[in-house]
Symmetry: C2
Subunit: 412 residues, 2 copies
């Protein structure tokens, strides 16, 4: 029998175009289930739980909830906050237990990447030790596509579609004068090359980078310059895609060559950015060509106007599946996506133990990488279904109409 | 009676999302007119005439010509080449006359901005002096929207739509952690603020820059930092849009503060870029906040996937109108757009003498500017109709299917 109580949903980590589509799936599904007595949204994820700032989702207009499907970023607010191990310091955990008890939260769904799954896993273990019954389900999210156990992650397809399309448009623009230009496109991805590899979709139709550098291969600056010289000598132009996370053979981020004292975020990740500018400057000198570094910056993760319909539908589906799984009594799992080996593209949702997901990064397999500076055609079979379809967007006055939630806090 | 002979069309200057829509309008119209004996496209504009590299448009598939409507950049190739005054050096002009005579070119249509209209005007005068009958019509094009005599320019609406939409998406992303971030968005526009002002569309729906700096107002770095401090103190975040062309009270580009020896292009324009990085770095120190400079770079002028339908239709219409005007015996004019003072948005094409357009830049009027760091609501009446409508795009395998011309050269 299902637990009777409230459902709490939170959003965590870096934004994507489809995080809110998962929220839409959670809210629309949960609001029709009898044993769920209330639906809450945590303001800024785990921080909203610790600060007891919970939104009452029943107060929202259903039309605005529906618009979440097309609205980028995290409508409830996101957070980057790392819980300590409760064996060392249980302060946060005691507070979480207190809030869960007070609001009778029996279903906790958390949307995020591997750090967030680690958070879920820790809370789950602590609550179990304290005999507090609560179904805890992770909803996968990351544009990086580096989560363990799932064929791919909601968020990736839309970012990949943006990257592929934008590379095509840039290729047409950058070559408009015939010759004499070098373009260095910097794409996100700390340790995995999935996003940068999406630029290969553009290359496969003749409008993409000539060279693609992934963090899975050691990067050598001099070799890079020689690679570029060769292409430039042959074609008169060169377009390069590089992952922000490229590292040399000793594992040093190329970015650190430029910025010696790289700052770090609260997860001890080095703050990246600027490697395109750095390499662009070196390339300009080497080629004596007009060189333009381009950073896809936030746009690659928030360009909901060109979201993949497949991705949005799967993000929505993962939210819905998380609610259903929780009601069925599942806990301590993340919803994963398994690709079925049938004709065409089809998938089913699977359960992945949280402990397997937490803090593990899935890299690009060798089969998808060509040498040390390109992507292999096999990658197309993987990625093309994920960017398929255009998610419909409502436009008002020429710009998208995004969801506008009231975000009414539950009285403490 | 109309002249009987070939029509030559060329593309010039920086790319936009709708240059090829004008080409589509020219080609589809010209191919059905009896007195036009052949339709040629100049490879890389004026350079293709001087080098006698003309494409035979009759060899192209009509489906590919139709796809030009949705294909960014310049399918025939563009050029930045400034003709000397023929009184000083007529070499280029003699070559042009020779090529025009050889191919019996009686209609010359040239698509570009004010530099290109200057080129048209010079050629027109020279051919008239030599008694070579040729109808010369300029087709307007520039994302900068700075052409004289026309309400707006094809290319602007699509760039404005990209800027407005992307600012909205970025605002949702940049504020996802609640507070503690500063975002500096750098937008194109050498001397006119039209493009940067488009970010105000996002502000008008609560998802845009807090401060907008246009080249029409003198920029003071210290004042900028204080402006940002005030917003940051009040809201916990600040988003700023700045034109790449902002200058101090003495007319010095702020960019030059950072790069002392700014290079210049062949039109003697200072090569811009990087002012966002420069101000972002200053702001980071002042606010002690996570500061992200974002440059819209080439994307703002080539993101055809989010082109304005109004803009694409008008660009097509301007190309069509240019052919019709030429056949009617008009010459030495640029096709302009006049907004009619009726209910709703309607326009008609008008003739603007080339000599009036050449080398004059139309700035933002005072009525559209608010103080020294914002845009006024009156601007919305101007800009909203221009970004209205979503131009339909054909997608194959999840990415746009852009036109792929054969580009078969006419035998010399």
């Amino acid at each position: 029998m299902s637990l009777v109580g409230a459902l709490l949903f939170g959003q965590s980590g870096g934004p994507s175009s489809v995080i809110n589509a998962s929220a839409c799936g959670v809210f629309e599904t949960a609001s029709n289930i009898e044993c769920i007595t209330a639906v809450y949204g945590a303001s800024h994820g785990i921080k909203g739980i610790l600060n007891e700032q919970l939104y009452d989702i029943s107060k929202e207009d259903s039309q605005e909830i529906a618009l979440l499907r097309n609205t980028p970023s995290s409508a409830l607010g996101s957070v980057r906050y790392k819980l300590k191990n409760y064996q060392q310091d249980s302060t946060d955990y005691e507070k979480i237990l207190q809030v869960f008890t007070k609001y009778n939260i029996r279903y906790f769904l958390y949307n995020g990447g591997n750090d967030s799954m680690d958070t879920c896993n820790k809370i789950s273990k602590f609550l179990a030790e304290r005999n507090y019954a609560c179904q805890i389900i992770g909803v996968p999210k990351t544009i990086d596509n580096d989560l363990f156990g799932t064929d791919h992650c909601p968020g990736y397809g839309s970012a990949a579609k943006y990257i592929a399309t934008t590379c095509m448009e840039i290729a047409l623009d950058a070559k408009v004068y015939g010759s004499g230009t070098a373009t260095v496109i910097e794409i996100m991805g700390r340790n995995a090359g999935w996003l940068t590899a999406a630029s290969y979709v553009a290359s496969s139709v003749g409008l993409g980078p000539d060279l693609i550098y992934l963090p899975e291969r050691a990067f050598d600056v001099e070799k890079f310059l020689i690679d570029c010289e060769k292409v430039y000598a042959q074609k008169g132009n060169v377009i390069v895609a590089i992952s922000e996370g490229i590292k040399d053979k000793d594992g040093v981020y190329i970015t650190e060559y430029a910025t010696k004292n790289a700052s770090k975020d609260s997860f001890n990740h080095v703050q990246l950015g600027g490697v395109g500018n750095y390499l662009g400057a070196l390339l300009k000198v080497r080629l004596n060509a007009k060189t333009r570094p381009i950073e896809f910056s936030l746009m690659q993760r928030c360009a909901a106007h060109i979201a993949s319909k497949t991705d949005v539908d799967e993000a929505y589906g993962a939210g819905k599946e998380a609610v259903i799984s929780a009601i069925e009594g599942k806990t301590d799992i993340m919803i994963g996506i398994k690709r079925l080996n049938k004709e065409g593209y089809s998938t089913k949702f699977i359960d992945i133990p949280l402990v397997d997901v937490a803090n593990y990064e899935k890299k690009m397999p060798d089969a998808y990488i060509c040498g040390d500076n390109y992507v292999s055609p096999a990658f197309l079979d993987y990625v093309l279904p994920l960017i398929e379809g255009q998610n419909p967007v409502l436009y008002i006055n020429g710009v998208p109409r995004f969801a506008n939630l009231k975000k009414i806090l539950v009285k403490k």
